[in-house]
Amino acid sequence: MGVVWHWLAAPREGWYLAAFIIAALVLGGTALAMLTSTPPRYRKTVVMVVTFVAGLYYSLEFLLPPEAWFFTKPHRNPLTEAQPVVATLAQIVSSFALLLGVWNLFLIHGRAVAKRSAGWYNSAAFFVAFFGILAAGLLKDAAAGKSGQVAENVYLVLFNGFLTSLDSTMFSLIAFYIVSAAYRAFRIKSLEAALMMAAAAIIMLALVPVGAVITNWLPEHGILSAFRIERVGYWLLTGPNMAAQRAIAFGVAVGGLAMGLRIWLSLERGSFFDRQL
């Protein structure tokens, strides 16, 4: 099996690479056509089998220890070695879907520009940005010499100058939103809100020097030292807060396991899973 993985994943170039891509596309297209033309009854079975086999791969990869007696090479689980190939397969499927996503963007914004609907110039800006960065990205790799350098500079300006800066701008907005959200959350309307306000006040004071000054008169050692605000804050974070966080994390993990199990065994019902495939 390892030999097949290595042969599939080996780097190729030139005509050999082109032939490989064409063969892969033909194979993929044939599989898709076969699946589409399969009667719905059998199609559902095919999807169930593929889901089960895919789930089984990851389950066995995790559950089987490398030192198991049936693995010929000690401390090597062959399923683990196949992981890069499996990850590449998943990445290829995602790449196809990305094209669909881009197609959706083109449809929505193309329609807005064609109909001159409200804010159509924003849609036009999308096309300018899309083709601008696409051209710069392709040219920086393809063109040589001075024009290649120019394309690289343009690409860097677009990426670092625009995209990264806009990302940072959005991220920094969170600081202002935290203030408005905190104001609403800390309005004391119930016992729970009062407790949250008190806990938040202690944590905030524990993290700033002025907080430490407030309880500085308490001794650093002994029973009374436990009431110093920095210690109370630390206890709140590592005690009650951590316990609640872990309880939620356990619940989420068990819920995820149950959901995963239902999908793996094709038991999921109630939404799109039970429709006729």
Partner: protein
């Protein structure tokens, strides 16, 4: 302190085996017709209220699955989307679904199409309401914020995996006066949703959504199985705490020391 490994150890086999056993056992018993109780979850009950509000106001709704991809979290989000779209189709409302993952975008489109068809109004499905915006976190967030303000949405649903963009979205939802319901398994984002949304679904309630909304025996059984699984984990926590505490109180007892070391070996800290 024990060593962690990327592979399961015997303790994982036993605990995971028990969890799987309880879930499948309860699914099978629910399928045989056994009545199972499920407590009220206000956040999930509020979904219909939010859809009704949007219908009354004649404004669209927004359903954002966060940055989820085609994984467990994303699929659960699609399950909830199906319910919301079906309700919207029934009342003649619009649901806008902005997506950050291209694979999930294709699934969301099919889910919405099926939901309209299931309600007998396939012609009302508008493909432009299912929008792939960007796979970059803040580009997607700014796109969603734009939709919230331009469309003046009446109700906003945030179900999926969220990172720092959670607060940006929910605060902008507040600004446009939308009723907001959120649910995420991301523990770091739950406080932000709690602070700025009307209803928040916490932790494993997120995974209870499909059972709660559909009342399908298989899903209800799975939910009860999950609760038994949580009891197993609680039991292990108590056992671990007692073993380690007793060992520290009686340092001379070798068998207690061995038991505590065994526990730490198979349940190491990550």
């Amino acid at each position: 302190m024990g060593e962690t490994s990327q592979y399961a150890n015997p303790a994982v086999w036993i605990v995971e085996g028990l969890l799987v056993f309880f879930i499948i056992w309860k699914i099978l018993s629910a399928r045989r017709g056994r009545e199972l109780f499920i407590r009220r979850i206000p956040g999930l009950s509020a979904l219909d209220e939010a859809v009704g509000r949007a219908t009354e106001m004649g404004r669209p709704m927004l359903f954002a699955p966060g940055l989820s991809g085609l994984d467990i979290v994303g699929l659960q989000s699609m399950s909830i989307l199906s319910h919301v779209v079906r309700r919207a189709a029934k009342y003649g409302s619009r649901v806008i679904v902005p997506l950050a993952d291209p694979v999930l975008y294709t699934v969301a489109e099919e889910v919405a199409k099926d939901a309209y068809a299931a309600e007998g109004v396939p012609e009302r499905f508008a493909p432009e309401d299912i929008r792939f915006l960007s796979d970059r976190q803040f580009a997607w967030a700014s796109g969603v914020v734009g939709i919230l303000h331009r469309e003046q949405v009446a109700s906003a649903f945030y179900f999926g995996y969220y990172y720092a963009e959670s607060l940006i979205l929910s605060e902008n939802g507040q600004m446009v006066g939308a009723i907001q319901v959120a649910g995420t398994p991301a523990t770091t984002q739950i406080p932000f949703f709690l602070a700025s949304c009307d209803y928040t679904i916490i932790g494993d309630e997120y995974y209870a959504a499909s059972a709660y909304l559909s009342r399908e025996p298989t899903l209800l059984g799975s939910l009860v199985g999950q609760d038994l699984g949580k009891l197993v984990i609680v039991g292990l926590i108590v056992l671990g705490a007692v073993t380690v505490t007793v060992q520290s109180l009686c340092p001379g007892a070798q068998w207690l020391c061995d038991l505590a070391n065994l526990f730490i070996k198979y349940f190491p800290r990550s």
